[in-house]
Amino acid sequence: MSKHMGKKPGWFLRLLGYKKTQFLTIPLFSIFCSLLAIAVLILLIGKNPLTAFQSLLQGSGWLPKPNYAAGKSILTDLLDMLDAYTPMLFASLAVALAFKAGLFNIGVSGQMLLAGFAATVLVGYQDFPAGLAKPLVVLLGFICGSLVGALIGFLKYRFNVNEVVSSIMLNYIIQYVVGFFIQTRYVDVVSRQSRAIKAAARLTLVDVAWGNMKLRLPLLFIPALLVAVLLYFYLKSTVGGYELKAVGLNRQAARYAGIKVGKRLVSSMTLSGGLAGLAGVTYYLGYYASIKPNELAALGFDSIAVSLLGNSHPLGIIFSSLLITSLDKGSTYMNSTVGVRQEVSSLVTGMILLFSACSAYMRYKVDASLRLALAGFAGTAAALPQQDSADGSGKGGKKA
C-alpha cells in the first residue's frame, strides 16, 4: 500500500474511492470484473465476447434484434423480461430483509414453492371471478410464505436451530411433499407438470392485444417496486426497522438496549417469508401457470446473488435484480445466435457473487489506501510518523 504514499491518489482509487459513491462504484466494479472474466472465457471458446454481450441485451429487450417473428418486438421482449423480473424482485427483497436482521434466508425457493402450490390448488383450480381470485392469490401467497418463515424464525429463537440448516431441510421437505401431491393428484399427463391454472387467477395478463402485438402484462410489477420503496422507508425511518437493523448488527447490544431480540428475529423472518411467498405466486401463477414437480426454482438462489449485489439495500436491489434477470432472459437468445452456452449466464451470476462477497474487503482496502494516499498528498501528520523531511512524503507510511 505504501506505493500510494506521497502522490495524488491514482485515478482508479479516486474512481472507487470516496465514501459517498462507494455504494455504487464497488458493485459496478464487481460486475465489471466478472464480465471481464467471462469475456476472457468466451474468447477462449473462440467466440466474440462483444457480440455475446450484445445478444444478451437483445434477448432481454434492451437493444433491438435484427429481425422479429410476427407479433414480437422489442416491447414484447422487454415485457417478458419484466414478467420474470417481478418474482425476482420480491425474492431478493425477502433475502435482503432477512440479511438486515442478521439472518440468512436460503429457503426462499421452498417458501415460493409452497406458496405457489397452495395458491394453485386453493384458488387457481377454482372458479372464482378474476376480481376475487387475483387478490386471494396474492393474500394466500403472502400468508403461506410467512408461515414457513415464521417457523424458521421460531425454531431459531426457541430451539437455537441454525436457520440456514433448517431452511434447507424445509426446502427439501417442501420440494418432495409438493412433488408427491402434484404427481398423485394434479398432474397433467402430457406436460408432466401440474395442470395449468385458470386464467382468472393468473397474475400476468397474457396475450393482451396491442396493435399487432401480443403483450404480457405483469400485474404486480408496479406493486413490487412500491414494496421495495416501502421497505426502504420501513428500514430507514420506523422503530421496527431500526430495531431490526440493530438486531442484525449486534444481537447482544440490541438485547442490552431493551430490544426484544427473539420477537424481532421471528417477525423479520415472517416478513421475509411473506415476501418470498409473493415471489412464489408471481412466479408460479404469473410468469408460469403451472408447477414442475420435484424442482426448486433456481430464482430463489439467484436472489441471494441479487441481494448481495444490491448491498441488501431495497433500492439497490431494484437495479441489481434488473441486471441479473436481463442476463438470465438474454441467455437463450445468446445461445441461439452466437452459440455461446446458456450456462454462461449463470456463470456470470456466480462470478458477480464471488466478487460481491469480497466487496467488504475491497471497501476496507480502498478506504485504507485512499486515506494513506490522501494523507501523503496533503502532507498531514496523521498518517506520517515523526521522522519526516520537508517534502511531506515519507517511506514510513507502511505502518499507518
Binding site: 420440494q175 462477497a357 476496507y364
Partner: protein, 319 residues
C-alpha cells in the same frame, strides 16, 4: 433388512466423510456451508479424469476408479482454496462465502461439463460416464445374520472411508496439528500467542475439508448414478452439516447421525417397496431423512456447544 443395511451404509459413509470435512473446517473456526460445492467440484474433477483417460485403461479396469478418488480429493482441495481465500484472506462473511462457493460450483461444473463434452468428445451431454464400481463380499463373515450385511456387497470406497476416518480421528485428537486446529476454533488468540499462525491452520483445515468432501462426492457419483451429472448436487453437503451439528462437532456422534440418515433413507425406500405403493410414494420417502434431520435438530440444538470462535474472522488486533 439386509438391503436396508447395505444401501444405508453406502449412503451413510460418504456422508460421514463429508461431515468429517465439515468438522475439520468448523473446529478450526471457519463456518463451512460450502461442502456442497466442494463435493460437486471434487466429483467433477474425478469424473473429468475418468472421461479423459477412459481409453488408457483396459475395459472393466478398476484403476481409473481409484485414481478418480485421488483426483476428486485434489479437485475438492483446490476448489476449497478459493473458499479459504474468500473467508480467511478476503474477510468475506463465511456464511455468504459458503453459499457463493456452492452457487459458483453448480454453474461452473455445469458449464464445463457441457463445454468439454461438446468440444473434446463432440457430444451434447451434461454427464461424464464413469465405470461401474465393483462390490465386494467377504465370504464367511457375511453369513452372520443381520451383522453379516455389513460385509456383503459393499463398495471398495467404504473401506477407504473407514480407514480414513480412523486416521482423521487420530489426527484431530492425538496430534499437535489437531490440537492447534481445535484451539484455533476455540481460542485463536491463544494459538497466536503460542507462535502458530491461525491463518495457516485454518487454511489447512479448509483444504482438508475440501479434499474429504471431494472424496465423498466422488463416492456418491459412483454409488448413486455411475456418472457425474448436475444431480450430484442433491443436498448431501447440507445434510452433512446437519449431521455435524447433530453430532456436536465430534467425530463419533457424527458417525451415529450419518448412520441414522442412511438407514432412515434406505428403510423408507424398502417400506415403499414392501407396502407395494406406487413409485410416487418414493417422493415422500425421499423427504423422510430431511424431516428426521429437522426434528432431531430441534431436540439437540439447544444443548449444542459450537466451537467458540466459529464464524469469527480472526483479527490479531483484538487480542
Amino acid at each position: 433388512m439386509n438391503t436396508m443395511i447395505i444401501d444405508g451404509l453406502s449412503y451413510a459413509l460418504p456422508l460421514l466423510i463429508i461431515a468429517c470435512g465439515g468438522i475439520f473446517s468448523e473446529r478450526s473456526g471457519v463456518t463451512n456451508l460450502a461442502l456442497e460445492g466442494f463435493l460437486g467440484f471434487g466429483a467433477f474433477t474425478g469424473g473429468l479424469f475418468v472421461a479423459l483417460t477412459s481409453s488408457w485403461f483396459a475395459n472393466g479396469s478398476t484403476v481409473p476408479m481409484y485414481l478418480a478418488f485421488l483426483f476428486a480429493m485434489l479437485g475438492g482441495g483446490v476448489y476449497a482454496l478459493l473458499f479459504a481465500l474468500l473467508c480467511i484472506k478476503f474477510r468475506a462473511n463465511q456464511v455468504i462465502a459458503g453459499v457463493v462457493i456452492n452457487i459458483l460450483s453448480v454453474a461452473l461444473t455445469g458449464f464445463l461439463t457441457s463445454q468439454i463434452n461438446s468440444s473434446v468428445f463432440g457430444e451434447a451431454s451434461n454427464k461424464f460416464q464413469l465405470g461401474v464400481s465393483p462390490r465386494w463380499t467377504i465370504p464367511g463373515v457375511s453369513q452372520i445374520p443381520v451383522l453379516g450385511a455389513i460385509f456383503t456387497k459393499f463398495y471398495p470406497f467404504e473401506i477407504l472411508i473407514v480407514v480414513l476416518v480412523i486416521f482423521l480421528n487420530y489426527l484431530l485428537y492425538k496430534t499437535r496439528f489437531g490440537m492447534h486446529l481445535r484451539a484455533a476454533g476455540d481460542n485463536p488468540h491463544a494459538v497466536d500467542t503460542a507462535g502458530i499462525s491461525v491463518v495457516r491452520v485454518r487454511f489447512a483445515a479448509v483444504v482438508i475439508a475440501g479434499m474429504l468432501a471431494g472424496l465423498g462426492g466422488m463416492c456418491y457419483a459412483y454409488s448413486i448414478s455411475t456418472n457425474f451429472s448436475p444431480s450430484i448436487y442433491f443436498g448431501a453437503g447440507y445434510l452433512a452439516i446437519a449431521a455435524m451439528i447433530f453430532g456436536n462437532w465430534k467425530l463419533m456422534p457424527t458417525l451415529a447421525a450419518c448412520l441414522i440418515f442412511g438407514l432412515a433413507r434406505s428403510g423408507a425406500y424398502q417400506l415403499v417397496g414392501y407396502l407395494k405403493l406406487s413409485s410416487n410414494f418414493t417422493n415422500l420417502a425421499m423427504a423422510i431423512p430431511y424431516a428426521l434431520t429437522l426434528l432431531l435438530l430441534i431436540f439437540f440444538s439447544k444443548s449444542n456447544r459450537a466451537p467458540r470462535a466459529l464464524g469469527e474472522i480472526y483479527d490479531k488486533a483484538k487480542r
